[in-house]
């Protein structure tokens, strides 16, 4: 991305803004001393971990802070007009006419009981007084503009009748209908699948160019920032610690916090053997605990000196257009950074690798279907035709002991159903599933305690899987007692030992889940899963709800425990960089089928199954200089109730034209497995020789 020459004054100019929330005790200073500019046709990214005040800044711009929020200092100028101190009435007019917002969850921005057409047209009839038929037509044009397929019909539908990616496009279209000068986007793609996200990010890029809109883009994802932003502000604990162009920040991060963030995210292609993730020690302080009169990052900074603890650094310009809030930015060289002792576990070289051992788990042609109520009258008497959602269809895989199998795919592809089938919450209709000699087709209620003991799970959302009224110690102790892992009188010691293993101290024993942060809860979830010393642990998106620095710590922890206990893992995730980093083997799922499976390094290099290729080209890479192929999938995942004939991917496959007749065979016949190597197989009609000729998706300097 090139930086355009600026002939105009900035659209938005924020200077030393401070925002507080009133609470019963005192005012909590959520954001202080934030300054940045947003120019037309440029995207200013605000990144940071949760609780750093990113969204508060966005809401503060339009004073959307709720009854207890207030701007206590500084100035926010939009097109030269001061916004601080304006009445809600004036701001409302401005919000409708010149500033628009797009939020994370499109379902919350859309009214579920009003058709999309009415919601869109209302923007024009209310704000501009355009007659309804004309407003309707303009809305259709705008939907076309955001690449909505079949826009005229979408207008008549209700929000729940379109997919998440389409909903977000409707919200973006609605935001653009009034041709705003400034667009505020708060994590607009976080709730979307990676392939949908890629399309929405492309759209934002196009719209910025065509409409000359200035965008404030809030996200926690460093890969997304690298793809869409021109300028970046890194926020930490309510302050902006570094501001600069995206190229200079990624090439040369100057603040220790930014450097730390960069070390937390796995690069696409990084493996656990070749690289280590370094979490940032400690955690973001709560607003009332922030150091006063000192550098806010000092308690977590490896370079902190006495000066950092006694004096507050100012944001100062170090290069043209690149500033950082650090005393020592010139002297700190991120390249020579050494992790402090104990930050990351020391892994010894792999010992005891016994290749060729029997797989610990083996599934063959497993099918899990959900029965669908038929609407016909016959079904009332049980004579109707039964229809099935084929959530998992013909899945065969095996995992050797002490290895990790990563499972990736878009939402709705059957990843979680597969996990539920293995854990016994769903019963497969057909196929064989063996685990250590146990039969896995038995539902969990009929399983042997020994099997349950050996097969545990870490869930995505630690909040909903922990009982809020039991203490941490009680919850971890429960599997210990249930499976008699240790004698009853040693349960407490064992719990403390497990807590230590997940790097929490014994004082957490008595805490309740609500007293823990998200990362700590997930650690407790991991401790609980490993309490019975299982042989296989299923991890269903264990880090996707966590901040990057916490994510790095949790991933390291899982790796460490895996090495210590020799546990086998199945790791379900949508983040392909994380899966690549964490897994030895990867399976790519689409519409209930595994379409490619093999050793991780083979999946991320040609030959690719076309779906894998599309997934890889959609992943946002935290490196603005990396070259990535531009493949975008159109349409949505077809319904599993009525899957396409032949190859399930043929309706969206971008590589069909490699076959004669435009891939007629893909519609007619189910592909055969093609073996690239003994372990790496691809589910596609296109001959391997053709697939091998395809260039790698990502090339970086």
């Amino acid at each position: 991305m090139t930086t355009m020459e600026r002939t105009h004054a900035p659209i938005l100019k924020v200077r030393n803004a401070a925002i507080s929330y009133e609470t019963r005790h005192t005012d909590v200073e959520a954001v202080r001393d934030v300054s940045f500019d947003v120019h037309r046709a440029e995207t200013f990214g605000v990144v940071g971990e949760s609780g750093c005040g990113k969204s508060t800044v966005a809401f503060g711009i339009v004073d959307f802070l709720g009854p207890n929020g207030k701007i206590v200092g500084g100035s926010i100028k939009f097109q030269g007009q001061e916004l601080v101190g304006r009445s809600q009435d004036e701001l409302r007019k401005l919000r409708g006419d010149q500033i628009s917002m797009v939020y994370q969850d499109p379902m919350q921005a859309l009214n579920p009981s009003v058709t999309i057409g009415d919601q869109l047209a209302e923007v024009l009839t209310v704000h501009r007084g355009i007659p309804k038929p004309e407003a309707w037509q303009k809305s259709i044009d705008m939907l076309d503009r955001v690449y909505m397929p079949d826009s005229a019909n979408v207008m008549k539908r209700y929000p729940h009748q379109i997919s998440g990616g389409q909903q977000q496009r409707v919200v973006i279209a609605m935001a653009l209908l009034n041709n705003p000068a400034l667009l505020i986007m708060d994590e607009p793609t976080t709730a979307l699948d990676v392939t949908v996200e890629a399309v929405v990010l492309d759209l934002i890029e196009d719209l910025k160019r065509d409409f000359d809109t200035g965008i404030v883009y809030i996200t926690h994802d460093l890969g997304v920032v690298a793809r869409v932003c021109n300028y970046v502000g890194v926020m930490y604990a309510g302050e902006m610690v570094e501001v600069g162009s995206v190229e200079s920040i990624y090439a040369n991060p100057m603040h220790p916090y930014t450097q730390g963030l960069m070390r937390c995210v796995p690069k696409l292609g990084a493996t656990k053997e070749s690289s280590i993730l370094y979490p940032i020690r400690g955690r973001v302080p709560a607003p009332q605990d922030r150091p006063k009169g000192a550098c806010i990052f000092a308690p977590r900074c490896d370079y902190a000196t006495d000066r950092c603890h006694n004096e507050k650094p100012q944001l100062r310009q170090l290069e043209t257009g690149h500033s950082a809030r650090c005393f020592y930015s010139e002297t700190i060289d991120a390249g020579t950074w050494e992790p402090p002792a104990g930050l990351v576990p020391e892994f010894e070289a792999d010992v005891g690798q016994e290749d060729g051992r029997e797989p610990i788990i083996r599934l063959s042609e497993v099918k899990t279907y959900y029965e669908q109520e038929s609407k016909s009258l016959l079904s009332l008497v049980g004579a109707g035709e039964k229809r099935y959602v084929k959530a998992v269809d013909d899945v065969s895989l095996e995992v050797p002991p002490n290895k990790t199998l990563g499972i990736v795919g878009e939402s709705g592809c059957g990843k979680s159903t597969l996990a539920k089938t293995i854990i016994g919450l769903e019963t497969p209709r057909d196929g064989k599933a063996q685990f250590l000699g146990f039969d896995l087709t038995v539902p969990v209620s009929g399983r042997d305690v020994k099997l349950i003991e050996e097969l545990q799970m870490v869930f995505q959302n630690p909040d909903s899987t922990m009982n809020p009224s039991y203490s941490v110690g009680h919850q971890i102790g429960r599997p210990l007692r249930r499976f008699n892992v240790v004698p009853k009188d040693q349960v407490r010691d064992e719990v403390v030992r497990l807590l230590n293993a997940v790097r929490l101290d014994g004082s957490y024993y008595k805490r309740l889940p609500r007293q823990l942060s998200g990362g700590e809860k997930q650690r407790v979830g991991i401790a609980r899963a490993f309490a019975s010393r299982p042989d296989l642990v299923l991890c269903d998106e264990p880090v996707s709800a966590l901040d990057v620095s916490v994510q790095a710590a949790v991933l390291n922890l899982l790796l460490e425990i895996q090495r210590d206990y020799g546990t086998t893992m199945m790791f379900i995730a949508h983040d392909l960089s994380v899966v690549r980093f964490f897994s030895d083997y990867v399976a790519v799922m689409y519409l209930g089928h595994i379409v490619e499976i093999g050793p991780a390094e083979a999946i991320y290099a040609p030959p690719y199954q076309p779906y894998t290729e599309a997934l890889l080209s959609a992943v946002p890479i935290p490196d603005p200089t990396a070259e990535q192929k531009h493949i975008r999938l159109h349409g949505t995942v077809p319904s599993a109730l009525d899957p396409p004939s032949g190859c399930p991917f043929h309706t969206r496959c971008p590589r069909r034209d490699l076959l004669p007749d435009g891939g007629k065979i893909c519609e007619e016949q189910i592909p055969q497995w093609q073996y690239n190597s003994e372990e790496h197989r691809i589910f596609c009609h296109i001959p391997l020789e053709e697939l091998r000729k395809i260039e790698p998706v990502v090339t970086s300097d």
Binding site: H8, Q79, H127, R128, N179, F211, G214
Partner: protein, 215 residues
């Protein structure tokens, strides 16, 4: 070259009830000289420029300092703006030269760009000047030659033909009728990556053409 490609989208705008002092402040802050005045929905109701904000002394009852202050602080844009019906405007799909003509004939420095009476942009003298610079290749390095040729068909083709024969490329060009000489035409060319002497000798070899300036 249409207005929509060269206008400034999202111009700084003001409301009719805004005080003239605040408007001046905004104009200074954002370095603009023209403020379209809009009501709800960005509908144009008038235009304010620095010119219109000059208050003729005859409007003041006296030159008393307090009197002037009071007078100024009560003024809003409504009182000083050019009313909608007197504002010359344009549309986004108008050719650039048409817009320029409207500006020169109306002797105005800017045209609000409207779509259904809603302000979607503004095009000013500065935008026009920027495009003139671009049109003549003012922002690139190269040799600039002005050639005077007879005013008849096929003459320009001789020049472009001769240049392309050499494998050179014309980056920018423009032509006007020679001032006070309707029989001739002056053509300006910007050619990149070519030594001045080589270009000159090629241009001089064309019959009936006169190279009147090279730089």
């Amino acid at each position: 070259m249409l207005v929509k490609d060269y206008m400034t989208r999202h111009p700084v705008m003001a409301e009719p009830t805004m005080s003239i002092v605040e408007a001046q402040h905004i104009m200074a802050e954002t370095r603009v000289r023209h403020l379209p005045v809009v009501k709800t929905g960005k509908r144009l109701v008038g235009l304010v420029t620095r010119q219109t904000m000059r208050i003729p002394p005859t409007d003041l009852a006296s030159l008393n300092v307090w009197e002037i202050t009071r007078f100024l602080s009560n003024l809003t844009l409504e009182d000083v703006m050019v009313m909608r019906e007197n504002v010359i405007t344009t549309r986004p799909d108008v050719a650039l030269e048409e817009a320029a003509k409207a500006m020169t004939s109306g002797k105005v420095g800017c045209l609000p760009v409207l779509e259904d009476d809603v302000v979607i942009g503004i095009i000013t003298e500065v935008d026009m000047m920027t495009q003139l610079t671009e049109l003549l290749g003012g922002n690139v390095e190269g040799v600039r030659a002005t050639i005077r040729m007879p005013n008849r068909k096929g003459e320009l083709a001789k020049v472009t033909g001769a240049i392309s024969e050499q494998g050179w490329g014309i980056y920018a060009s423009g032509g006007v009728q020679t001032p006070k000489d309707p029989d001739h035409w002056d053509c300006v060319l910007k050619v990149r990556d070519v030594p001045k002497e080589d270009l000159l000798s090629v241009l001089r070899s064309i019959d009936g053409h006169e190279v009147i300036d090279v730089r």
